[in-house]
């Protein structure tokens, strides 16, 4: 249903062009959950915003195709995009505390996208239902239903609450209800559990799983937590410095990681064991994307399998086994020749 090809999103800055998303390819089938994993600043969120064509200026999508249900979103008019946003593709944001508008009631915010997309619009004769009482009643009922579905207790009472009267977990549930309001086909979940504590995290992920099962909603889950992705997703794509470095079915990637970065991420997940072991962190930091127009692998300075050729050639994505892709010099046959 979604096919992203060679997506490039750039930000012009004083220090040169920052390639926030640099040639990302992935695809998603109906009812599938794909995890987009990577450190902060690796371009995961920007990939999501690029799909919705909501990259904040001066940033812009520079290249690539986003085919959603057979339509290239890159060619869609602003009006068409507005019809798709919220209705076909909905997004759940990272920080529920700041994402809900503080001056409107929760219930009204859930109702809003139904109203925008005319979910219950009546073809009434003009003036018969001037104040849209019927439509409002239907929207209200659906909002209550949604609040029940996402697990907000006493929805009739909480409908009239303001965001500050909700706890963090409840706010995130409300955000999910907003995203589900028009039964979207695709849900972009941008670190939906990062701002929450662990027990609430599990509940929210459980809720998303339920939504995926019941409505067959496809989900792209953006996370920096490989453990969360491992448990939740069908496929995983690991991003580093704006590029996907490894992509494949979840069990293959977790059990047999190929890219040194994926290996590093897996090794840095703390395990609860009797013996106290030091967590293996990947040395160094995500590179500054502004200075990153050199050829070669962006991970070379943090990689323990680095060879001199890593910096010299442009490394292509290689399909090592059906459905398994890696972008690493050790898995490419054409690496040497690609430099020309």
């Amino acid at each position: 249903m979604l096919n992203v090809k060679n997506l490039k999103t750039i930000f012009p800055t004083d220090r040169g062009i920052v390639k926030a998303v640099d040639g990302v390819d992935f695809s998603l089938k109906h009812g599938e959950i794909v995890g987009l994993v990577g450190e902060s600043g690796s371009g995961k969120s920007m990939t999501m915003l690029s799909i919705l064509r909501l990259v904040p200026p001066p940033g812009r999508v520079d290249n690539g195709e986003i085919i959603f249900e057979g339509k290239n979103l890159g060619d869609a008019s602003p009006r068409e995009m507005m019809r798709i946003r919220g209705k076909e593709i909905a997004m759940i944001f990272q920080d529920p505390m700041t994402t809900l508008n503080p001056v409107f009631k929760i219930g009204e915010q859930i109702r809003e996208s139904m109203r925008i997309h005319g979910l219950f619009k009546e073809n009434e004769v003009f003036f018969r239902d001037l104040f849209k009482k019927k439509q409002k009643a239907k929207e209200y009922n659906r909002a209550i239903e949604l609040m029940k579905e996402v697990g907000i207790p006493a929805p009739h009472l909480r409908y009239n609450d303001y965001p500050h009267q909700f706890s963090g977990g409840m706010q995130q549930r409300a955000l999910i209800a907003i995203a589900l309001a028009c039964e979207p086909k695709l849900l972009l979940a941008d670190e939906p559990t990062t701002a929450l504590d662990v027990t609430i995290q599990a509940q929210i992920l459980e809720l998303l799983k339920k939504v995926n099962k019941i409505h067959r909603t496809s989900i792209i889950l953006v996370t920096h937590d490989l453990a969360v992705a491992a448990e939740f997703c069908h496929e995983i794509a690991v991003m580093y410095a704006g590029k996907i470095v490894e992509r494949g079915p979840v069990d293959k990637v977790i059990e047999n990681p190929k890219h040194p970065y994926t290996k590093g991420l897996l090794a840095s997940i703390p395990k609860i064991t009797k013996v106290k072991k030091k967590i293996k962190a990947i040395p160094g930091n995500v590179p500054d994307l502004a200075g990153l127009d050199k050829t070669g692998c962006a991970f070379f300075d943090r990689c323990d399998e680095v060879v001199p050729r890593c910096k010299e050639v442009e490394i292509p994505m290689e399909e090592v086994r059906p459905g398994e892709f890696v972008r690493c010099i050790h898995y490419t046959s054409k690496g040497v020749r690609a430099s020309g």
């Binding site: 944001f93 920080d95 503080p102 809003e112 925008i116």
Partner: protein
């Protein structure tokens, strides 16, 4: 619940007003110049006995604390004393001139808001565009322009050269209007007097612009900066992701959030409106409180100055109280 809290806050303003009353009373008496001297100066030859009689009439021979006590005693009875220069009760003078001043301040406020809010919003949404730069340049001029200068320029342009609008008083002489409330706009609507309404609006035009110009400039700048802040918020992105257009997001989600700082400034500007109208009322021959108090200050007319300044203080306190109440309606997080 909210009603009770509003009442509580209203009662809490009483000590503020009393404090202001004492300060006004004392400062007026600290200013050099004796009211009796000034009154007598106009009359020419006077005897000691006449001076004493006058002093007794206005209790000026009493010690300060007794005068203060008498002032408060009158205040509680709603009596601000008689004007020394005019011999009329101060309350009557205020009552007669107040509608003119409120009409002018209202005109200025409406002008300022109509001009400033759209400019501030558009400037923020189109940040760094030519529209934004031009609007901010104009608003800078607006802030730095003194009202008396702007008033005179407008009179020269619109009244003298183009002969489009009147420049003096509230109504032309040949227009008859039955006075009910003292607000000429309201009176002419109540009596269905169309010519008077148009005439009164024409008279109100230039003074309102003069008084409202600097306020408009300030509000536009505040609105722009708070709007810029709001546009960066996450909920703006959520609203876009719901499928709202850019401008609908601004109108539905941003303005209400961006209004908070603007309303604060408007509340404070009410004081500026009242202070500034002394100049504007003088330039446009507007028979309001401002002109009354300027005359009273020159005459050392203690009761009248006290009365009017008290009145200003009460309006200022009430304006800021109103702002506090409006906050609670705009932002549910804020409680009284």
């Amino acid at each position: 619940m909210k009603g009770i809290k509003i009442l509580e806050r209203l009662i809490a303003t009483i000590p503020v007003v009393l404090g202001i009353a004492i300060i006004v009373f004392l400062f007026m008496r600290l200013t050099p110049g004796d009211p009796v001297d000034i009154m007598m100066g106009k009359a020419g030859m006077v005897t000691e006995a006449e001076i004493e009689a006058l002093q007794r009439e206005f209790n000026l021979n009493e010690p300060l604390h007794v005068q203060l006590f008498l002032f408060f005693k009158g205040l509680l009875a709603g009596d601000l004393g008689n004007s020394m220069a005019r011999g009329v009760p101060v309350t009557k003078l205020i009552k007669d001139t107040l509608p003119a001043t409120i009409e002018l301040a209202g005109g200025a406020l409406i002008f300022a808001l109509i001009i400033a809010l759209p400019i501030g919003i558009i400037s923020a949404v189109k940040q760094n565009s030519y529209i934004d730069k031009a609007a901010m340049a104009v608003s800078f001029v607006g802030i730095s322009m003194p009202a008396f200068w702007l008033g005179i320029v407008l009179i020269i342009l619109f009244s003298v050269n183009l002969n489009l609008l009147p420049s003096q008083s509230r109504l032309s002489h040949m227009i008859n209007l039955q006075h009910i409330t003292g607000f000429y706009i309201i009176d002419s609507i109540l009596t269905g007097n169309m010519p008077a309404l148009i005439n009164a609006l024409k008279h109100l035009f230039l003074p309102s612009i003069t008084l409202g110009a600097s306020m408009a400039a300030i509000i536009a700048r505040v609105m722009r900066s708070s709007m810029l802040e709001v546009l960066k918020q996450d909920y703006v992105m959520l609203a876009r992701a719901k499928g709202l257009s850019k401008w609908m997001v601004v109108i539905k989600h941003c303005i209400k959030n961006a209004m908070m700082p603007t309303i604060t400034v408007v509340g404070m500007q009410v004081g500026v409106l009242l202070g500034g109208n002394m100049i504007v009322e003088s330039v446009f021959g507007w028979p309001g409180l401002g002109r009354l108090v300027v005359d009273a200050i020159f005459n050392r007319d203690y009761p009248l100055v006290q009365g009017v300044v008290m009145f200003y203080a009460i309006i200022f306190v009430l304006a800021n109280f109103t702002v506090d109440v409006i906050y609670t309606y705009i932002n549910p997080k804020i409680e009284l």
